[in-house]
C-alpha cells in the first residue's frame, strides 16, 4: 500500500484543510463589530475557539506528518487503508453523493411540491437506487408513510406543513 493511501495521509490532508479553514475564520472574526466599553468583545469567544482548534489541528498535522515521513508500525491504526471520497472510482461514494444532491433538491422543492409529494419522490428514487425494484411495494410505501406523517403532524400536533400541489387534500381533510 502506498503512503498516500493510508489513514495517516488522509489525516494530514484533513489537518491542512482545517488549518486553511481556521485562518479564514480568524480573519473573518477581525471584521466583527467592536464595542469600546466591553470587556469581552463579540470576536473574543470565537477567536479563543479558533485558537483551541488551531492548536489541536497542528498536533494532528505533526502526528500525521511524522507517521507519513518516518513510516509506521504495521499495527498502527493509521497505517490502514484510508476511506475514499472519489465518486469516480467508488460506486458507493457516487451513490452517497447522489443522495446528497437529492436532499438539496428536496429542500429546494419542499415548499413548491409540498412535503408529501416531495418525500414520495425522494423515497421512490432512493429505494430504486439502492436496489429495491418492486414498484408494487415501493410506490405505496413511499406515498403512505409521508401521508401518515403529514396527517399526524397536521391534525394531532397542529404543525402546519407545506402541501404544495396537494393543497386540496388539506382542504378535504379540514372539511371532513
Amino acid at each position: 500500500m502506498k503512503k498516500t493511501q493510508t489513514k495517516a495521509f488522509a489525516n494530514l490532508i484533513c489537518s491542512l484543510l482545517l488549518l486553511i479553514f481556521e485562518v479564514w475564520a480568524y480573519v473573518e472574526t477581525t471584521g466583527f463589530r467592536v464595542h469600546k466599553r466591553a470587556f469581552v468583545q463579540p470576536a473574543t469567544f470565537p477567536q479563543i475557539m479558533i485558537c483551541g482548534m488551531f492548536i489541536f489541528t497542528v498536533i494532528l498535522f505533526l502526528q500525521s506528518l511524522l507517521k507519513v515521513t518516518r513510516g509506521m508500525k504495521p499495527e498502527d491504526p493509521d497505517n490502514e487503508l484510508s476511506p475514499s471520497i472519489n465518486p469516480f472510482t467508488h460506486r458507493g461514494v457516487a451513490a452517497a453523493m447522489f443522495v446528497v444532491v437529492l436532499c438539496v433538491l428536496y429542500t429546494y422543492l419542499f415548499d413548491k411540491l409540498g412535503y408529501v409529494l416531495d418525500s414520495a419522490c425522494i423515497s421512490i428514487i432512493i429505494m430504486y437506487l439502492i436496489g429495491k425494484r418492486d414498484l408494487k411495494v415501493i410506490i405505496p410505501i413511499s406515498i403512505i408513510v409521508p401521508l401518515i406523517m403529514w396527517f399526524v403532524f397536521y391534525k394531532l400536533l397542529t404543525v402546519n406543513i407545506p402541501m404544495g400541489v396537494l393543497q386540496p387534500l388539506r382542504e378535504l381533510v379540514d372539511k371532513l
Partner: protein, 505 residues
C-alpha cells in the same frame, strides 16, 4: 416532613382512575413523540396544555408528567434502533445503544434503557420528595461563575467520548463551540459569520443540527454501504423472553443507574442545565470510573444505563426548583409552570406552606408517571425491537423523510431542513475520517451557556476573570474538570496501548 399527609397523597394519586388513565395516556404519547426525531417532550407538553384545561390539577399534571417521562425514554428508541436520537437527551444513548443494536441486541438495549429510565426517574422523584428544599438552596447558589465552570466540567467529558484520537475529538469540540457562535452575539447583538444571510442571525438550530449529524449522515453512509455491498441486513433473531433486563444484567448495571440517576437529578435541579448535559456528564463519569473503559462505546449495557438513568433523573431534578422556588429547571418545567399558574397555583416557597397536599400529590404523580412509562415501555419493547428487521433498503428513505420533517417542524422553517442536510454531509465526512460526532453535539449544547456566562462574569467583575478563584463551587468544578481530563487522557492512552498490543498479536 408530614409523613401521614405524604402517604395520603400517594394513596390518593395511585387510586384515582382518572389520574392513572391520564398519566398512562401521557406516557404513551410521550414515548411515541420522543421516538420521532425532532419531536421533543417540551413540544408534547406544550401541545397538550390546552387539552388539560378541563381537568383537575393532578390529572393534568399526570398527563403532562407522563409525556415528560415518556418523551425522555422515547428518545432512546430511535437512538438505539436507527442512530437518530429522538430528543437531545438521548444523544449519548446512541454511543452504546446503537452498537448493541448492530450486535443483534436491540431488544436488550431497549429494555435496559427502559429499566434505567424508570430507576433514574424514581431516584429523581425520591430526591425531589425528601431533599427538594435543600437541593433548591444549593442550586440557587449558582451564578455565572458556577454556570461557566459547570459548562467547562461538561466540556471536560469530551476527552472521554473522543474515541481513539483525543486530538480529533478536541478539534471536533472546538469546531462545535465555533459553530455555536454563528448568529447574533448574545450580549451586544453583533453579527458573526452571517455573510449577509438573514436566516443565520439566530444561528444553527440545535435539533436540525442533531438530526443532520446523526440521522441524515447515517442514511448517506447506509446508502454507500448498500451500494458497496458492505451493508448486512439485520434480522431480529433475538428472542425477547423478558421485557425487563435479567438479574445478571441488573447486577452489572446498578452502579451506573444510581450514579446516573443522581448526576441527572443534581444537574436537572440547576436552572438552565438539563438532560442533554447530564447524559454526557454521566457517561463520562461512569466511563472514567469503569474498570474496562475500553469497552465503552462498543455496545455495552452500562453505557445505556448510565445515560438513560441520567436523563430521567433530570425530570425529578428539574421539578425541584420549580416547586421550591418557582424557577423552572428546564424547558418542560417552564411549560409546567404555566399549567400550575393556569390552575391558580403559584409554585414557590409559599407553595410548601399553603399548598403542601398539592406538593405531595405532585411528588406522587411524578412517581406514577415513571411507573406508567415503565408499563407502556414494557408493552412496546417487542414491537419497537422489530423495527431493525425492516429491510434497510426501505428503512433508510423512510428515516430520511421522517427526520427531515422533524427538522422542519421545530421552527416551521425550510432553512432548518437545509441545515439538517448540510450537517448530514458534515457528519458523513466526519464519520468517514474518524472525527467523533458527539463532541460537536456537546459543544453546541454548552457553547452558548459557556459564552454567556463568561461574558456576564467578566463584565460583572470589571474585566477581572481571576475573581473566579474566590468562588469555591466554581473552583471545585474546575478541579474536578481538570482531574476528569487528565484521567480520561490516561485511560485513553491505556486503551490505545492495549488495542495496539492486541493488533500485534
Amino acid at each position: 416532613m408530614n409523613w401521614s399527609l405524604l402517604f395520603d397523597s400517594y394513596v390518593n394519586v395511585f387510586t384515582s382512575v382518572q389520574v392513572i388513565g391520564m398519566t398512562l395516556l401521557g406516557a404513551l404519547g410521550g414515548i411515541l413523540l420522543g421516538a420521532v426525531p425532532g419531536m421533543t417532550a417540551t413540544m408534547g407538553v406544550a401541545l397538550l396544555i390546552p387539552f388539560s384545561f378541563g381537568m383537575d390539577l393532578i390529572s393534568s399534571i399526570g398527563l403532562l408528567l407522563g409525556i415528560y417521562c415518556g418523551g425522555m425514554y422515547g428518545g432512546s428508541i430511535s437512538a438505539i434502533l436507527i442512530h437518530a436520537p429522538g430528543t437531545p437527551s438521548a444523544a449519548a444513548t446512541l454511543l452504546d445503544g446503537y452498537p448493541m443494536c448492530q450486535k443483534g441486541q436491540a431488544g436488550r438495549a431497549l429494555s435496559i434503557a427502559m429499566f434505567s429510565s424508570f430507576c433514574g426517574g424514581v431516584l429523581g422523584a425520591l430526591v425531589m420528595t425528601f431533599l427538594s428544599p435543600l437541593v433548591a438552596q444549593m442550586a440557587m447558589k449558582f451564578t455565572s461563575a458556577e454556570m461557566l465552570m459547570l459548562a467547562f466540567f461538561g466540556l471536560s467529558v469530551i476527552v472521554s467520548i473522543s474515541g481513539k484520537s483525543i486530538a480529533k475529538g478536541l478539534i471536533a469540540a472546538f469546531f462545535g463551540l465555533l459553530l455555536a457562535t454563528v448568529g447574533q452575539d448574545p450580549t451586544y447583538g453583533a453579527k458573526r459569520f452571517i455573510f449577509g444571510f438573514r436566516p443565520l442571525l439566530s444561528g444553527f438550530s440545535f435539533i436540525p443540527t442533531l438530526i443532520g449529524l446523526f440521522a441524515i449522515a447515517e442514511v448517506i453512509a447506509g446508502v454507500e454501504r448498500i451500494i458497496s455491498g458492505e451493508e448486512k441486513q439485520q434480522k431480529s433473531e433475538e428472542k425477547i423472553t423478558n421485557v425487563l433486563p435479567d438479574l445478571k444484567t441488573i447486577g452489572k448495571i446498578w452502579p451506573n443507574i444510581i450514579s446516573g440517576g443522581l448526576i441527572g437529578t443534581f444537574i436537572g435541579a440547576i436552572p438552565g442545565a438539563g438532560g442533554d448535559i447530564a447524559v454526557f456528564v454521566s457517561y463520562g463519569f461512569n466511563k472514567s470510573s469503569s474498570k474496562h473503559p475500553e469497552l465503552w462505546g462498543t455496545g455495552i449495557p452500562n453505557g445505556v444505563a448510565a445515560t438513560e438513568s441520567a436523563n430521567n433523573g433530570c425530570s425529578g431534578g428539574a421539578m425541584i426548583p420549580l416547586l421550591s422556588l418557582g424557577v423552572p429547571g428546564d424547558a418542560v418545567t417552564a411549560v409546567l409552570l404555566g399549567a400550575f399558574i393556569m390552575k391558580g397555583i403559584q409554585p414557590g416557597p409559599m407553595m410548601y406552606v399553603n399548598e403542601l397536599p398539592t406538593v405531595y400529590r405532585v411528588f406522587a404523580t411524578l412517581m406514577l408517571a415513571n411507573l406508567a412509562m415503565l408499563l407502556v415501555g414494557c408493552a412496546g419493547v417487542r414491537f419497537f425491537a422489530k423495527i431493525v428487521s425492516v429491510e434497510k433498503k426501505m428503512l433508510y428513505p423512510i428515516i430520511l423523510v421522517v427526520s427531515l420533517l422533524g427538522a422542519f417542524s421545530i421552527n416551521k422553517s425550510i432553512f432548518d431542513v437545509g441545515v439538517c442536510v448540510l450537517f448530514g454531509v458534515v457528519g458523513y465526512l466526519m464519520n468517514k475520517f474518524e472525527f467523533p460526532l458527539s463532541p460537536i453535539l456537546l459543544a453546541l449544547i454548552l457553547g452558548p451557556m459557556c459564552e454567556q456566562n463568561f461574558v456576564r462574569f467578566v463584565d460583572v467583575n470589571n474585566g477581572n476573570f481571576w475573581e473566579i478563584l474566590h468562588r469555591p463551587i466554581a473552583v471545585g468544578f474546575f478541579v474536578v474538570s481538570v482531574a476528569t481530563i487528565l484521567f480520561s487522557i490516561y485511560n485513553q492512552r491505556k486503551i490505545n496501548k492495549r488495542e495496539a498490543a492486541n493488533r500485534k498479536q
